[in-house]
């Protein structure tokens, strides 16, 4: 299992591409199927996009994890941006405040196996998602 965390600083649309490439590479290294590797890469793209759109800068970290009987990937997207005041609303399909996206978080939740979000207004947002190898 690849050790350590991969950190990708997210400051621009180029970094969105870089983050999802690294996510796909890690998924491939861990033996994920083409579909699951694409799910991971797509989820990372959306999470990185949220950072650029709402917080301007932040970080994506990728890490291989081992569960009791399976291997997976954890993706953490964190920023010190404005935060989300109504998380319930942000998790509903079609909700967007930036005008540049609208299906991000509910879509990410469907693409991944586990989804957790922590956010407070003025304190930034951290989204943690996991995908297990089938």
């Amino acid at each position: 299992m690849p050790a350590g965390k991969i950190h990708v600083a997210i400051n621009s649309d180029q970094d969105i591409v870089l983050a999802r490439q690294k996510g796909r590479a890690l998924a491939a290294e861990l033996g994920f199927s083409a579909v699951d590797a694409t799910f991971v890469a797509t989820a990372i793209s959306e999470l990185a996009r949220n950072i650029v759109a709402y917080a301007r800068r932040g970080e994506i970290t990728l890490q291989a994890v081992r569960g009791s009987s399976r291997q997976g990937i954890v993706v953490v997207a964190s920023d010190d941006g404005p935060g989300i005041s109504d998380i319930g609303q942000a998790l509903r399909d079609g909700f967007s405040t930036s005008g540049s996206l609208g299906l991000g978080l509910p879509g990410v939740r469907r693409l991944m196996d586990e989804f957790e979000i922590n956010s407070r207004p003025g304190r930034g947002t951290t989204v943690t998602v996991k995908k297990w190898r089938q």
Binding site: Q14, A37, T38, F39, T42, E46, R49, G107
Partner: protein, 120 residues
């Protein structure tokens, strides 16, 4: 990043590479619509075979390209969406509604030719 746009009679064929950034996609959208105007094209094929991720921005940009080109009186067909990309797009909620799609370049061309046969 330059996207090759090939003129084929009344049609344009644009081939999208992998790893396009948002800025690349926006340039593409602008370039493609300009070319449609310049050549008075009647149909556009956008080949996305090489794209291994189609997130919300890319999906929306493709849809906007098709809608803009339709306002010019031309038709767009998106070809080559990979099966795993299609799967992820549906999970994400991006279905390219109202946009024509075809399996590959050949079928995309056949679609446009068939479509314009009746008008000529």
């Amino acid at each position: 990043m330059e996207v090759p746009i090939l003129k084929q009679g009344e049609f344009l064929i644009a081939t999208f590479q992998a790893d396009l950034s948002d800025a690349d996609l926006e340039n593409l959208r602008r370039g493609l619509v300009q070319q449609v105007v310049r050549f008075r094209s009647r149909g556009v094929i956008v080949d996305v075979t090489a794209m291994d991720v189609m997130d919300s921005f890319a999906s929306r940009t493709l849809r906007e390209i098709a809608l803009m080109i339709r306002l010019r009186g031309a038709d767009t067909v998106i070809v080559g969406i990979q099966p795993e990309v299609a799967f992820a797009m549906v999970q994400l909620g991006m279905t390219l509604e109202g946009v024509a799609t075809a399996l590959d370049l050949e079928e995309g061309l056949a679609y446009l030719i068939e479509k314009f046969k009746n008008i000529d």
